[in-house]
Structures are given as C-alpha cells and as structure tokens.
Amino acid sequence: MAEREKVLEIRDLSISFRTEGAKVNAIRGVDLDLYRGETIAIVGESGSGKSVTTKAIMGILAKNGTIDSGTINYTWTDPDGSKHTKDIVKMSEKEIQSEIRGRKIAMVFQDPLTSLNPTMTIGKQVMEPMMYHYGTSKEEAYKKAVELLSEVGITDPEARMKNYPHQLSGGMRQRVVIAIALSCDPYLLICDEPTTALDVTIQAKILELIQDLQKKKDLSVIYITHDLGVVAKVADYVNVMYAGKIIEKGTIDEIFYDPRHPYTWGLLSAMPDLDTDDDELYTIPGSPPNLTKKVQGDAFAPRNAYALNIDLRLEPPMFDVPGSSSHKVASWLMDPRAPKVEMPASLRNRIQKMIKEGVAK
C-alpha cells in the first residue's frame, strides 16, 4: 500500500458558543485525522457537536461561536507538485473565502431546497463558483457545468441548466448541490447528513454517486450522519461523538464488530434490525448533558449502566485498544485496572450474526 497522505489534521479543537447568560462548550478537545482518498464518518446524536466540527473546518461558525483552542491543519498539493500546510484557525476570513471555502473544501448540506438559490437557474448556480474562484470564462464554465451535471447523473443536462430548483425533485436537487460542490475540484468534500431529507431509494443512489465520484476524483470525504446504515455503506473510518468529544474511533470493522465504548454499544443496539422480533427497541436512557455546565468526569456516565466510580470524577483519556493502531476508546473501562465488562449479550449475538452474514456474501 502506498503511503497515506494526510489531508486534514485537527488537534485539540475546542469551540464554545456565547448564548444568553451562558457559555456552551459545544466542542471539547477533538482530534481528527483524514487521509487522501479516504472516507471518515462522524456519528452521534443531535447536539453532539458533529456539525459544529465541520463548520469550523469551513470557517462558517455562527457569529456567537469562538474557537477557544486547537489547530486545523489542512494540507494540499498544488498542480506543480509543491505541498502546503495551513492552519485554518489562524487564517483570516478573507483568506478562507478566497482559498478554502468552496475551492479546496466543499460542503453538501442536508436540505437541498434551502442550500440552493430559488431565484437562480441551476446552470448559473453551477457556473458561479468556477467563475468566482478561477475566473473561468462564461463559455468554458457553461461547458464544464453541463459536463458536471451529466456526471452527477442528471439526464438532459443542457435543458436542466435553464431550470429553477423548484422544478426538480429532491433527489435531483441534491445532485445539483453535489455538482456545485465539485465544480471547483475540491480535495475534500464534507457531507452533512446528505441523505436525511431524501427517500430510501434515492438515498442509496446519492450515496453510490458520491462513492463513484470519490473514486474518480480521489477525493477525501467526511460524512456527518446519525444513520449507521449510511456509515456502514460509505465509511472507512468512524468517529463516534458524544457531548463534544470523540469517544471512540477506529476502522469501520472495529466500530461495528468490536465496539468498546458503552455509548457505541447503545447506538448499535438502538438500530432496528430487520430480523428483530423483540417487543421493545433498545433505547439509551436519559438525555445528553447540558453543555453550559462544566462536565465533571465522563459526560456519558449518568446514562451509562456500566459507569465506574471514577467516571463521575475524572474524564477518561483516549486508551489504545490492544492489538490495533487505529482503534481508540475514551472510557475508563479500557484501563487495565478496571473490572472486565462485556458488551450486552443481545448486541454480541447480533454482531456474531452480522459477521456470519458478511462471510456468507
């Protein structure tokens, strides 16, 4: 295997938001690595900070948000072969706008109707970023836009160029958004719940489209989602977030077949399985912590049936899972001194079954 080329390196990122009277610590020390051509997924409940992390990468935090500490190092190779690394946190707004946003890093949002301009034709919206960032001539941009539209699977692209967003279906709109995102040949594509607003049938098509384009263009992709089915389909590496921290990370197989953190166990158990006949679906008890208050110990401890005493006092560090270079877990259960705790039997059975299914295919 060729050496993996690091594209993005986030270290100890902390972000807080000022709200009425209180400071919300939305992100509390996130580390993240992304390599060229690979796909990572960030999963977690709403409010866990997965969207905020990626918004920081794009430099589109809300006005009341500030990056308290940390670095976001972004590395790219220019066409002449020279390598550059820049810390996005230290860049000025102007620099981000002209260099990064839309040009080197592009984003696909959840709702295609709100991310498109209703008063502009599709064609104009696909052409605009190229003309803005690269000064492409109108004719050339038009040609490239038609190409892009057919690349994302829109039939009769020339006719579609003149359409307005409301004339297209939800799946078609999301394809247009992807075409816009790809128009400036970004190195990194961030997909924030790209299929949540779409039907299952269209969801599969859009995910397959992104996968194809990724292979063709050697893109790195970050998926943000709460749907583990989507994660299973697309991701190489998974980061599980809870209350502003990454609590478990590893390859897709490690997270799905050998999860170690009780929260990951809960997430996996809560998914409806097509074969379950249980009377009740598993739910994680309680609700996520209020991040305006300082979190004492492990943020997940109050909802955790396996919590140890130390979880209430001290925040667990990232433990390496023995025998793996990629699998890391932030839980005191991984400490060699901790009592041995096994995942719930029902989840273990399910994983056993999943592994068998995987072999059978």
Binding site: E45, V200, T201, K205, G229, V231, M271, P272, S287
Partner: protein
C-alpha cells in the same frame, strides 16, 4: 362498542385528484383499497410522491376525496358527512404529523395544545378535570406535569413529538394516523418514540395507520404493510410476506434500498433500480392478484405470472 372481527376502517377504491389546470390533473391517489382491523398497525410505505401522505390526509378528511368510499366504524365518511359522522370522525380519529415544530402552535402552552380536543368537544365538567386529564396524558407519554406550562420551543425534537402524540391520544381515538411521525428524529430518539407508540397501543387498543419511508421501522411496528407507488397500491400483505417474499419489482427495489448496518454486507451491495417507464408494467390495467389469504400484488394476468416466475429471485 367496536366489533373486533370487523375492520375499523375500510378504504374502497379511493381516488384523490388535484386539478392543476384545465388540461392537467395530478392523480395523487388512483384507486386504492385496504382495511384496518381494530388494534392493528397498518404500515403504508412508498417513495415521496407515491401518495402515502395524501391517503392519510384523505382518510382524516383534510381533503375531499375525488371518488371512492371511506368507511370508518360503519359510517361512510367519504362524501358529505352527517353531523354525527363528523363527530365520530373528529373524536375517534387523530393524526400525528411529521414535523413536531411545525404542527404545534408556538404561542400556546403545552397544556392548551394538548387540551384543545377536550376544549372543542367540551368533554369535561371543570377546569380541574381538564387539566388533570392533560397531566395524566403527559405523564403517560413520558413528560412531567411541570412541562404543561411551557411553550413548544422549550422542548427537544423527541419531546415535541411526545407532545404531538399526547395531543393525538387525549380523545382516546380508535384510529391514529401517524404521518412520518419519526422521520425527523435521531435514531436513538426514534426508538424511544416507537416504543412509546407501541406501549400506548397496548394500553388503549387503538389502531395505527403508520405512514413512513423508513422500511426497517415500518417492519418493526406494523402487522400488515401496503406498498404504494404512483398512487397505486402495488403490493399488500403481512410484514413477513412483504419482507420475506416480495413479488412486485417495486417492492423489491424498495427493500434493496434499505441500508444494512453491517459494513461487510453493505460495502459490496448495490441497490436495485426500478423504473416504471421501462418496466413494461401498466398500473392502470392491473388488478389485485391474490397470492395468499393476506398477500396481494397488483398486475395484469401476464404480469402476475412473471412475478411468480421471478419469485424469490434476487436482483
């Protein structure tokens, strides 16, 4: 009283058209028939634009059905309704909507939102009784009585959906129409709401019409499932029949699109494409063909033979 052997709701050849212009009419629902037994959950699935929400809205009479009959508890509620029919319809049928923020009045307290049905039908003798009913309802859906004096924006998505459920269930309906009730929620919250709906069904014996596009949840909650496509009911059966033995190519394509939370299976799997235009099927000519006592598939005689020949085959 409800007769448990008779369907609580019968939909016969329901059509719902929307005229757009003189020449063009959208046939959102084009002749579908099904029935729901008391206490059962009927799942209605299909892609967007298949007419599943329109069906739900036509049944609760948010629309005026173009043709066909809707019989609810023995009364015809499809044409002009008698006063009595309106009363049964409004008290015995309730709806839970998709977006819990959009369907709750932001300027009303939870107490008044949930009590609205009681207020309209004057089904209490004193304010204390009314409030007590609301408090009890809030507690059954997993909220506390302190929540009654708050406004909808003070709640999380899952809690808001609980308020929607409390509002729907306070009149003790016999049929609840849940239109994508969990689609806007997180996976872990979805499970909570589905568990709550199941629990409420056990307690009240209400029947559910569960409209959704997420098939794994539908399979989990429904006794029987109807698959809608382009306003036609292309296949109907028990959830085992639909999931284990799908016959119609559209059902197969829907099932193939469900993401499996299993990376080793999912990585190599391609979803199966079904295109009505190139499939050679004509829904308008098709008639329901019986596969088993409960399993029906739409098609002409020739289609039906082809479906049977392809039975059990993958994609």
């Amino acid at each position: 009283m409800i007769d448990p052997t008779k369907p609580i709701l019968e939909v016969k050849d329901l059509k719902q058209y929307f005229p757009i212009s003189r020449k063009f009419t959208v046939k959102a629902v084009d002749g579908i028939s099904f029935d729901i037994m008391p206490g059962e959950t009927y799942g209605l699935v299909g892609e967007s634009g298949s007419g599943k929400s329109t069906t739900g809205r036509a049944i609760i009479r948010l629309y005026e059905p173009t043709a066909g009959k809707i019989i609810f508890e023995g009364q015809d509620i499809s044409g002009k309704m008698s006063n009595e029919a309106i009363k049964t319809l409004r008290t015995k049928m309730a709806m839970i909507f998709q977006d819990p923020m959009a369907c709750l009045n932001p300027r009303k307290k939870v107490l008044d939102i949930v009590a609205q049905g009681l207020d309209i039908h004057h089904s209490y003798d004193s304010i204390e009784e009314r409030n007590e009913k609301v408090y009890r309802m809030l507690e059954t859906v997993g909220l506390s009585r302190e929540h009654a004096n708050r406004y909808p924006n003070q709640f999380s998505g899952g809690q808001r959906q609980r308020i929607g459920i409390a509002r729907a269930l306070i009149m003790n309906p016999d049929l609840v129409i849940a239109d994508e009730a969990i689609s806007a929620l997180d996976v872990s919250i979805q499970a909570q709401v589905v568990n709550l709906m199941k629990k409420m069904q056990k307690e009240t014996g209400a029947a559910y019409l569960f409209i959704a596009h997420d098939l794994s949840m539908v399979k989990y909650i429904s006794n029987r499932i109807g698959v809608l496509h382009l306003g036609h009911l292309v296949e109907a059966g028990t959830s085992e029949e639909i999931f284990n033995n799908p016959l119609h190519p559209y059902t197969k394509s829907l099932l193939s699109a469900i993401p499996h939370p299993n990376p080793r299976v999912e990585k190599t799997r391609k979803s199966y494409t079904y295109d009505y235009k190139t499939s050679g099927l004509n829904y308008e000519e098709g008639t329901p063909h019986k596969v088993s006592e409960t399993h029906y598939v739409l098609g002409t005689d020739a289609d039906f033979e082809r479906f049977l020949a392809e039975e059990g085959k993958g994609f």
